[in-house]
């Protein structure tokens, strides 16, 4: 049976792993290659690098981080942030990424999903979605790091990206993100029930039981967390042991 995946996410700026603390300052938490190696040892099923660098020079440094990691860590790497064109996708895959994650850019230019899937295969196109609840069982899609509501219905967008050839969805709940009150079960359930590609749950993980809960209550095949693992509140191994104790299949 296919195991549910636990995925740590690393935000990288100018070649260093950083993490926002309480939405204010940005705190540096270490060397990305070392962090990735540590997560690999803990049993991470994939590792996500997210580039939050704004500058062109920073982009080169970031891809170098991907390149170095790919020489040392032999689990799948997903890379997101700053991917705007097919050439960006090619460059990122050549640096050693297995998948790219596109978010705002996919909303602005949905053709990027189709072109990427046609050229490199659906399996390497993950579409990241930031969404927020507007009313009972209704959510809309936001772009630019969850700052701009573009008024597209979440489920409509999910249908559209699946048709365009997305191979996976990483669904982040703006409402749950940073709360540590657990994943957004209702939203994840709605999306999983409306598509037939893998869905990664993102946003809201705070307790060890949150992971088991999202797997028990939704069709999400993977769960992602960042600060929880960065600040060593939990290890990937702890999370997996807990899932296993509740009968969930993990590696």
């Amino acid at each position: 049976m296919l195991a549910r995946r636990i995925i740590p996410c690393l935000d990288v700026r100018d070649g260093r792993v950083v993490k926002g603390v309480n939405f204010k300052g940005i705190r540096e938490v270490g060397d990305p290659v070392e962090c990735a190696e540590e997560y690999n040892k803990q049993g991470a099923d994939e590792i996500v690098f997210y580039d939050i660098t704004a500058s062109f020079e920073g982009r080169g440094v970031f891809l170098d981080v991907v390149r170095k990691t790919a020489k040392k860590v032999f689990v799948p790497l997903t890379v997101g942030g700053g991917i705007k064109t097919v050439d960006d996708i090619r460059e990122t895959l050549r640096a050693g990424a297995d998948k790219v994650s596109v978010n705002s850019q996919a909303v602005k230019n949905p053709q990027l999903i189709k072109d990427g899937a046609d050229i490199f295969g659906s399996q390497c196109i993950c579409v990241g979605i930031d969404a927020k609840k507007v009313s009972e069982n209704k959510w809309t899609v936001y772009i630019n790091g969850g700052r701009i509501d573009i008024g597209i219905d979440l489920i409509d967008w999910v249908h559209k990206i699946e048709q365009l050839g997305a191979g996976e969805i990483c669904l982040n709940s703006i409402d749950a993100d940073g709360t540590k009150n657990g994943f957004d079960i209702d939203m994840l359930k709605a999306v999983c029930d409306n598509c037939s590609i893998p869905v990664i749950a993102s946003g809201g993980a705070g307790r060890i039981s949150d992971f088991a809960e999202v797997f028990e209550k939704t069709g999400a095949t993977a769960a992602l967390a960042a600060s929880l693992f960065h600040f060593k509140e939990l290890t990937v191994g702890d999370v997996k042991d807990h899932c296993r104790s509740r009968g969930i299949i993990v590696r």
């Binding site: 049976m1 689990v75 799948p76 399996q123 037939s196 590609i197 893998p198």
Partner: protein, 212 residues
């Protein structure tokens, strides 16, 4: 030296990274001479079957691969594994290398059950059917990483290990001699996958560093 076939496949560099990490001498090449001189050949691959066969044909590699695969250890990975079979029905109908009997088609939806999510993306457990050199040290508790929507439909005798996804999916196939195919990605399957690549190097008589 192990030759990694260069034909524009996406995961060539991941395979090379893994071999280099293991201290295994390797080379990415589309030269027929170098493929003939190599001690073993790895055929990687992600993407569509027809497109991949066309890329091999453009480089005039089809006959070379067919000939070399029966002379020395030959490992196809993911799409490279699917190319070993006679034909594929991915987005049309395409002839494969025909090194193993069988065909490639989409993973069938199980009847009367919840539809399968495609691609199968993630870690799945191996069910070992029979011993094979690449499975040295591998047990039924080991997981490997899969990403695919198509699979082989082939003779039971060629399936050294399978993984359950709505049915038994061929995971590691072989002709029992020189030809091997992994539907999963050993280069992305952590220590278990690196162990298999080490076993492959041993089979080729190529030295490697300390066991991972």
């Amino acid at each position: 030296m192990i030759a990694i076939v260069d034909y524009n496949a996406g995961n060539i560099f991941s395979v090379r990274n893994a071999l280099e990490f293991l201290g295994i001498d390797c080379l990415i090449t589309d030269s027929r001479q170098k493929l003939e001189d190599a001690d073993g050949i790895i055929l990687p691959g992600v993407g569509a079957f027809g497109f991949a066969m066309e890329s091999l044909r453009e480089r005039s590699l089809v006959d070379t691969l067919r000939a070399e695969a029966v002379k020395k250890p030959f490992l196809g990975i993911c799409l490279g594994m699917q190319l070993l079979f006679e034909e594929s029905f991915e987005l049309g109908r395409f002839e494969g290398l025909g090194l193993l009997r069988g065909k490639v088609d989409i993973i069938r939806q199980p009847e009367g059950e919840k539809p399968l999510i495609l691609p199968q993306m993630g870690w799945n457990r191996l069910d070992i059917r029979f011993d094979c050199p690449l499975l040295k040290g591998v047990t039924n508790d080991d997981y490997v990483y899969f990403v695919h929507s198509y699979r082989a439909y082939c003779d039971e005798e060629s399936i050294a290990a399978s993984a359950y996804y709505g049915g038994d999916v061929p995971a590691l196939v072989t002709d029992g001699k020189t030809v091997f195919g992994a539907q999963f990605h050993p280069e992305r399957s952590g220590a278990v996958g690196l162990g298999m690549l080490t076993s492959f190097a041993e089979l080729c008589g190529v030295s490697h560093g300390e066991a991972y």
